[in-house]
Subunit: 626 residues, 2 copies
């Protein structure tokens, strides 16, 4: 915006923890500076100061005085501590600024891509165009009776009007001169389970002939992926991702449960932040098509059990301690209006059943979309995330477990870790005399993301730079000189200052290697427990399905070499992307798929790993870098 | 509170519009002063400054400075204009203070009394005590599955859990060590209408063996009556009344519709104020028994169509203009949690069907409880209020209409008008040489209430003091000297200063007489239209049912003499009190009574008076003081 202004000087802007440093003309905001460096900051409002998403903290140097908008978003104490909105703050000197994870926009590699599978379109919503006679003094029928009579004339089943629809119905009918399109929802699946025969609920009222859409959302602990789907064709019209706004209250579900337990209203805070994020997501999706959010007449949301509970506003305390009991495991159909999710007034969100513990509806959706749930040959399917859920299918039965793999592969708890964004190291090979590193977008390296971390761990071990416990060897003949002291534990210089182009070496610390060991050990131990329970060996596995964004980009050879995955021929792996999101979309367009999801959970035997007699042994073994 | 303080002086406190004036010691608050005078000010919090109900406005004189509590309840501009809380403000000089109607507590004569009729107890709620096995690592069933299984073991139908119950269920189960009493609601009547077979919804969770109650509320335009009923015995355990808090936004439904139309969020304001008032009412009812509000597992609310719509949060615009169409006329079952009404978490409120126009569920409730709806002999039933609804039953069929009788009989728009509270003139007889006046409680007269107004009008006309158009005759041989000038229109001195004990004559103005004419004319015209439609004469009426508080206390002879009611033998009248409240209680304890209410509306033919060709003629005739 200020590019045309005469530049009086330049300042250095140092963005942390991504580690990007640059010279910018005076007058640019921090947001503009970050955008030039390709660092995506969340800025839903486009830099108007109204969304409060691009929060940063100034650690060194001087910025312009806080604006009125910033005073709205921060307390005086926070402003004093250097907390600012990047879109408002302009450097007045060289500055160093920290970008908290929640302010980083999800960039290229959101986990929104998933394989499309062919599912017959069979949504729970029917569309009916009706033209009503206008009321007169001789025809005083109420608005609902008028509509009910018109539907009966067309031979439709009796319709029910929920309160959120009643709140708008009278105005909508009159605005549209009594000619409207109704979205009628087929029977409530819960009632369906009771054998009750079909009925209809009016969920939306729009102009006649307007298309009606559905929303599918996969809510991960870290990332959220949303899809807008045409309910008549089944086509995905728009997809978007965002960071789960709950990250600010804890990186993993355990810390969010702890946060919710601290005070009575915090569960509501977690719910409201998530819902606000989803409303933003819907805004973006709608503007892309473009459509009005009132046209979204159905929704499916999947997530792990804790996320599921927090979304619905259910208590999570009992999920935080053994025996880890869910408040509800049955499928739910909840009026979105009562959650604060702004779609068509009467839209309901369908939540597939949970399995147990943290194995939730997202895993069900993945099992559904990959067809793993009905595999007859031994098939293992896992979705790597902050929690990793694993199922082993054989003969139409399923064994499932959940392991706390932690956020290391999301870049958290890793010294130079970052999300899969431009400038992230995503590929590492340590040769005999040379180290090859590839960054996303081929840009100067600013950090290292999940697949790069996995590669680095595997390569350091293979090259003999790291030992079985992760200790780094300064006596290594070729690479010993790259081992530096770091917090008493040693670190490997993956890229030096000259290579990164800023004043930082890009380090992989011993602690990083240990974090990789913990994460990969947890995942492998889960795999091993399930196979042992089924009495199967690795080679019995005919298919090994890896879902999730990280699972798509990881190098399978590295995953096997480091011991995260068992050694299998490469052709037995299937990397399926965001299969949970795909499953959610399938359930959105198909009532039959919902019934499948509900029946597949009955085939599952859940293994609580923390209570399994062999888990600790498996875990200790699996943690070693062999 | 300050009674023990040494009094330095006394001040005169003049309370308007009740017209009570008194000397009080310095140091007393306005609330204490009013209480000494027997003027009941609303003070839910007992004068702690926390409920904000005892709002008054100081017109003359000086009060103590606003307290912190008052600054919370009023804007600076309002404080500047003399708006204060009576419980906080202490006179520093002689003062004159106005008490707005909503600050007057409902006193003796709330319309909560109604005849009890014998109805077989058949509530929609079943109580089940269940003891559950505690979860273990070998029994990981979710809380809902655990409950569902336990209910199935007892041979109960499948239960459904709504989101508000799910929000608390896990905590309630653990707090009570897995032994609880569940309130299960039988099928949703709306679904019932569709022929769907019964199912159960969990609406409340309390300690085993705890009693469960229901709430019945009759929401009038001006007054609200609430009842707490034991659902097992059908007995009313507590009753209480309050002023409809919406009065602050318009005295009648037409002005409330106008208010709601002005701005988008005002409909919500009207809803929220009403719901807040009902939550206060529930507090009072609960503390009287005493019980916890979580024990209230069912509710029935009746009101006219506009009140019904505002309670549910429905649009009223279309009810404000011809042809006066209701958004919904079918019965509703709404989760109270979603209305903000705080009862058992899953409690639903049942709203009986509306008829048409302003003839709403309260009239249905009255027709139900009086059995008028199935009268075979010609029976007229009316409920006099700010709106008066009238039905004529004959041969099991009903003709119904609504007329805007206005709030004159509530004391509004009447010069010395007040509600039926201590000190209100309730009875007037003008003899040949003496005027006899009786006040409620035998206290010094502070104003005149509905039955007194009706009497005064009838007596002034009968004595020849008022002519057919309401003109007052200063030449009247006996009472001419009592006619004084008043705003150019004349007024009759019913009681002089010596008789009232304050510095005011108690006047009945010509304008008052005209207000009475408008009100009684509207009611009589409604009666006449219905009889004409049915081809009946007055004498054909076998029963004339008068419902409502005013209807209970009015003098039938005066009502006939003034022409509000047709001339009939006294024994044909039945004064039934708050029959709408009685009907609400019947529907609360009996599913069968709900079905009756739903079927009775099918027998009604509604007459829209404003569109009736003869209404204006009848009205002009009926307005005259014959």
């Amino acid at each position: 915006m200020n590019e045309g202004a005469e530049s009086k000087s330049q300042y250095t802007v140092d963005l942390q923890p991504v580690g990007r440093r640059m010279l910018v003309e005076s007058g640019l905001t921090l947001l503009e500076a970050a955008q030039r460096a390709g660092i995506g900051l969340a800025a839903v409002c486009g830099g108007a100061g109204s969304c409060g998403k691009c929060r940063v903290q100034c650690i060194e140097g001087k910025l312009s005085l806080p604006t009125v908008d910033e005073q709205r978003w921060f307390t005086a104490a926070e402003l004093e501590d250097g907390h600012r909105l990047a879109c408002q703050a302009v450097p007045l000197t060289d500055v160093r600024v920290t970008i908290p994870p929640e302010s980083l926009s999800a960039l290229q590699r959101l986990q929104i891509e998933g394989q499309e599978t062919e599912v017959a379109v069979d949504p729970v919503i029917d569309l009916v165009d009706v033209a009503l006679a206008e009321p007169t003094l001789d025809d005083l029928r109420s608005d609902t009776v008028r509509l009910t009579d018109a539907l009966a004339e067309e031979g439709r089943p009796r319709a029910f009007f929920g309160q959120p629809v009643l709140r708008v119905l009278s105005e909508e009918l009159r605005l549209r001169n009594w000619a409207v399109r109704l979205a009628l929802r087929r029977q409530d699946p819960l009632l369906g389970q009771s054998g009750i025969r079909p009925w209809r609920e009016v969920v939306g009222v729009v102009d006649a002939h307007q298309p009606m859409l559905g929303l599918a959302v996969d809510i991960g602990t870290t990332k959220v992926a949303g899809y807008l789907v045409d309910l008549e064709t089944g086509h995905t019209l728009a997809k978007h991702g965002l960071m789960n706004p709950q990250i600010a209250y804890g990186e993993d579900v355990v810390s969010r449960i702890a946060y919710a337990n601290e005070q009575a209203d915090r569960r509501n805070t977690l719910q409201q932040r998530l819902i606000a994020g989803l409303n933003d997501l819907v805004d973006r999706l709608c503007s892309e098509v473009p459509v009005h959010r009132q046209q979204i007449v159905d929704a499916v949301v999947v997530g792990n059990t804790v996320i599921h509970h927090l979304f619905v506003g259910l208590p999570v305390t009992q999920l935080g301690a053994s025996p880890y009991i869910a408040a509800v495991s049955e499928p739910l159909d909840i009026q979105t209006a009562h959650l604060g999710l702004e779609l068509a007034p009467g839209a309901r969100v369908y939540l597939p059943p949970n399995i147990a513990g943290y194995v939730g509806a997202d895993h069900v959706a993945m099992l559904l979309s990959t067809e793993a749930w009905q595999a007859m040959e031994p098939t293992l399917a896992l979705d790597i995330g902050t929690n990793t859920e694993i199922s082993l299918a054989v003969g139409g039965q399923l064994l499932s477990c959940s392991c706390a793999s932690g956020p290391a592969f999301e870049g958290a708890h890793i010294h130079a870790g970052m999300r899969a964004a431009p400038g992230a190291v995503e590929y590492v090979r340590i040769g005999d005399d040379r180290i090859y590193v590839q960054t996303i977008g081929g840009q100067p390296a600013v950090g290292i993301c999940g697949s790069g971390i996995l590669d680095a761990g595997a390569e350091l071990r293979a090259a003999g730079v790291a030992g079985p416990t992760g200790r780094l060897n300064p006596g290594h003949p070729q690479w010993g000189s790259r081992i530096v002291n770091w917090n008493g534990g040693g670190a490997f210089v993956l890229l030096n200052k000259a290579q990164t182009g800023n004043d930082h070496d890009l380090l992989v610390t011993r602690r990083d290697v240990n974090e990789i060991q913990l994460a990969k050990g947890a995942i492998r131990a889960g795999v091993d427990v399930l196979l042992a329970e089924a009495g199967l060996g690795y080679d019995d596995l005919s298919t090994f399905i890896v879902a999730g964004a990280f699972g798509t980009y990881l190098d399978l050879r590295s995953a096997m070499r480091i011991g995260m995955f068992p050694p299998l021929p490469l052709e037995r792996f299937r990397q399926v992307g965001n299969a949970a999101g795909t499953g959610a979309r399938q359930m959105l367009i198909s009532a039959r798929r919902r019934r499948m999801a509900e029946s597949l959970v009955n085939r599952v035997r859940y293994i609580e790993l923390t209570a399994h007699p062999n888990f600790t042994d498996f875990y200790m073994d699996a943690m070693v870098l062999s």
